[in-house]
């Protein structure tokens, strides 16, 4: 009989947790309103309210053991939110790099820009395809770019440790195709000279990327003339004049990729179809939005999995900590609860009261954990070798409202499990036994 009851409890728990995971915040709000209505409008609810009141009012006396629940859950939520914020920040940075009304064209079957080669002919033909926006002078808005990797000394290392940074050879058109780029310090590079501008992210990671300084690429010296900002993955790159880059890296007249501005988002279909129908071209066209989304997919998934696995293991630890504390709390209040039941309180209000108390502590823990993660990690910059690129991508951790809500949901779920068993035990202990218990 006892076994069946426990089995039932566990099944209930699983059902509740599954439903809880699916629940949007509106649903949670609805639940809270329903609970409040029940507590204020029905007799049972009123009883539950008064028992909860007693429990909560004695919380300060049990501050040590209650703090265990709060801090334990804050730890879980903080770690979880920080790790998920990493995934969020990474995919956000790449997502912002793309838009629906620009398209990137690569040689067929090239997974990354650096592996693609475009000849002069290809580039001219792409410009003539329908759907490409025209400049005021009537020329197609198209930017043919060379993408290479450059080795530069990494900031903050004692030895001459070098990291890889993506370098892009561009012309004036590149700025027309990507209007989000703006120079924040210094000036643009001059065509034909060994000058370059650096993204803010790259400047943060590598040594010597300040306007006016010279850096060494291979056997040649280049001058940094400016710093640019764009808020996306381009910020991790160095930009210089395309012919000069192509010359340094022995690329001749070929380029790696072509980015075009489309007349509008709906023109993409026509543009892609025209390129595919052209027998002289063997290229793949993708909107930049799809291109960058695809690149971020894998890494975001891995980061999320790490976050959830680590969070789950920690959550198990926190659940048992909460169980421990609540069992102890119920045990110290066993007499009081038994007295309530002896004078006619049914089991339900007692269960609700213990559950509410635990969930309250859990919610406080969740808010503290999320808050700490927000304060420490929101905007914290991290970097990794990005998929499909040949340089380090620098990005900022982003603690969004959605993530904070997700963290709070975890906290409440932990509180629910941690409170359920002690609550049921409190309500089902025979009154006589409980009254006799010391």
């Amino acid at each position: 009989m006892k076994f069946l009851k426990n089995l039932g409890l566990v099944l209930l728990l699983v059902l509740v947790l599954v439903a809880w995971v699916m629940l949007p915040w509106v649903g949670a709000l609805g639940l809270a309103v329903l609970l409040a209505l029940w507590m204020f409008l029905t007799r049972r609810g009123a009883q539950a309210r008064s028992v909860t009141g007693v429990g909560v009012s004695t919380l300060p006396q049990r501050i040590g053991s209650s703090a265990v629940i709060v801090v334990g859950i804050a730890g879980v939520v903080g770690v979880l939110v920080a790790l998920l914020a990493m995934a969020e920040g990474y995919s956000e940075t790449l997502r912002k790099s793309g838009s629906e009304d620009t398209a990137i064209v690569l040689r067929g079957a090239s997974a990354a820009e650096v592996a693609s080669v475009m000849t002069r002919d290809d580039i001219t033909q792409i410009g003539q395809a329908p759907g490409v926006a025209k400049s005021a002078k009537g020329e197609p808005l198209l930017s043919a770019e060379t993408v290479v990797a450059a080795n530069l000394p990494v900031k903050g290392t004692k030895t001459d440790e070098e990291g890889s940074v993506q370098m892009r050879g561009v012309g004036d058109e590149a700025f027309a195709v990507r209007p989000q780029i703006r120079i924040v310090a210094g000036r643009k590079f001059q065509a034909g000279l060994k000058e370059l501008i650096v993204g803010q992210g790259a400047a943060r990671q590598f040594e010597g990327l300040e306007p006016g300084k010279q850096i060494r690429l291979g056997s040649q010296m280049w001058t940094v003339t400016g710093v640019f900002a764009s808020g996306d993955s381009m910020e991790s790159e160095l930009w210089a004049d395309a012919p000069v880059v192509a010359d340094t890296y022995r690329r001749g007249a070929s380029r790696n990729s072509v980015t075009v501005k489309l007349t509008d988002a709906s023109a993409f279909k026509e543009f892609k179809a025209a390129l595919e129908a052209n027998p002289q071209l063997k290229v793949d066209a993708t909107t930049t939005l799809a291109f960058f989304a695809k690149q971020s997919e894998q890494m975001t998934k891995i980061l999320r999995i790490i976050g959830i696995v680590v969070g789950s293991i920690m959550a198990v630890g926190a659940v048992f900590g909460a169980l421990n504390t609540m069992f102890a709390a119920v045990a110290t209040r066993a007499r009081e609860i038994a007295t309530l039941r002896a004078i006619g309180f049914p089991g339900l209000p007692v269960v609700v009261a213990v559950m509410l108390e635990t969930m309250l502590l859990a919610a406080i823990g969740g808010i503290i954990g999320g808050g700490i993660a927000y304060l420490i990690f929101n905007g914290h910059s991290a970097s990794t070798m990005a998929a499909g690129s040949v340089g380090k991508l620098s990005f900022e951790l982003r603690v969004s409202g959605q993530l904070l809500w997700e963290g709070l949901k975890w906290a409440l779920a932990i509180g629910f499990i941690g409170g359920l068993f002690p609550a049921v035990r409190a309500a089902s202990l025979p009154v006589t036994t409980a009254l006799r218990e010391l």
Binding site: G72, A112, A150, E161, S164, K282, I313, G317
Partner: protein, 389 residues
């Protein structure tokens, strides 16, 4: 030691509470074991004796830039160099361009350089004589269900052949078996093809080499040899950069992720939580036993031995939980790696992790037990027996 049964009895006085606390400790050390193993495997990447005596020479400009073939002879003649080999990226992908395979075109003597890769003589022979032959890592073969003798198409995401087609044909002639799964598991995902076939077929290469690998006779001479190699092409249009494989690997890993920071901040949060949980349990346990401790003191136990017993109890609690947790980590890591077919690599907790882990267990046991133990030591017998403490 003679009080072990007393300590043991005290520890399991309230079974439910002890078990719940144990589970919290177990999860904390499970997490510690898994994360520390990841951290050490990142730290130790390439840190073998072989890694220290092999030098990688690539273009100073960037890792995608090629070097002239003609360097081979000049590298060979550098004093202290025993063996020179070279390779090139192939950028292979199977079926879908996003299904990337670690594929290199390698010189005929490439395998001599890497004792970590075990290949049968028969397979070596077949690789040398079959133009389109390929040696495939065991893990990779398993992933795509390839067998020796299979003809497989691979597209290169970089190199087309003379007709402009990027579909290449290969024949699997042998498997690569990683000698030591733990430290060199990555060889198990390699795809090696003949450099000659590659160089003849693609019009884009023309005798260029992706990178050279040289073995030095004496690892202590590695620095000098690296400098000598870089001096050969200094101020030319193909300057080189030479590092030991060990150093190259370490700096590469650092670019992929700053693992140390992430791991240590998680561990900090985990242990802070853990300390609090078990500290609370110990406080409860000692508070409950106030009168028992008074009795112990009455029959002649000194304050110090009571202190020692309570401390021993909390250390024992931490050690039991910690050992179970680390043992679980040692089992789960390899199981996950095996289950994911090599895409996810979680090494087992090594000797180092165990040593650190045990140190942490004892340390936390002492910290957690300190306050309750002091309380127990200072306990006044008369007050305690009268129920005033």
């Amino acid at each position: 030691m003679k009080y072990l049964h007393l300590i043991w009895a005290a520890l399991f006085r309230r079974k439910l509470r002890t078990v719940l606390t144990l589970v919290s400790i177990i999860t904390a050390f499970l997490l510690f074991g898994l994360l520390d193993a990841v951290r050490t495997s990142f730290d130790q990447a390439g840190q073998s004796a072989n890694g220290a005596s092999r030098l990688q020479t690539g273009s100073r400009l960037s890792f995608i830039q090629t070097l002239p073939m003609a360097l081979t002879q000049r590298l060979q003649s550098v004093d202290g160099v025993k063996l020179v080999t070279y390779a090139n990226w192939f950028g292979g992908a199977y079926q879908d361009p996003h299904n990337q395979v670690f594929s290199f075109a390698v010189a005929p003597n490439y395998l001599d350089m890497y004792p970590e890769m075990v290949v049968t003589d028969q397979a070596k022979q077949a690789f040398a004589t079959t133009r389109i032959g390929a040696l495939v890592g065991e893990g990779l073969a398993k992933r795509f269900n390839w067998k020796v003798g299979d003809k497989i198409p691979l597209q290169s995401t970089i190199f087309p052949d003379r007709n402009g087609s990027k579909n290449w044909q290969f024949e699997v002639v042998g498997l690569i078996h990683a000698a030591d799964k733990k430290s060199s598991g990555w060889y198990d995902q390699l795809f090696l093809l003949n450099w000659k076939y590659f160089d003849d077929t693609t019009p884009y290469n023309q005798g260029a080499v992706g990178w050279y690998v040289t073995r030095v006779a004496d690892a202590n001479q590695a620095d000098r040899v690296a400098k000598a190699i870089d001096a050969i092409s200094a101020n030319s249009d193909h300057e080189t950069r030479t590092q030991t494989e060990q150093a190259a690997m370490a700096s590469w890993m650092k670019q992929v992720a700053d693992i140390g920071l992430i791991v240590s901040s998680i561990m900090g949060a985990v242990f802070f939580t853990l300390l609090l949980l078990s500290g609370n349990t110990m406080m409860q346990a000692v508070r409950e036993r106030t009168s028992e401790i008074a009795v112990l003191k009455t029959i002649g136990f000194s304050g110090r031995s009571v202190l020692a017993m309570v401390l021993a109890e909390s250390v024992l609690l931490l050690v039991i939980g910690g050992v179970i947790g680390l043992a679980l980590a040692s089992v789960i890591g390899p199981a996950v790696s095996a289950g994911s077919g090599g895409t996810l690599r979680l090494p087992a907790a090594g000797l180092n992790s165990w040593a650190t882990g045990v140190g942490l267990m004892v340390l936390f046991g002492v910290i957690v037990g300190a306050l309750p133990a002091l309380n127990a030591m200072r306990l006044n017998i008369t007050d305690a027996l009268a129920g005033r403490a």
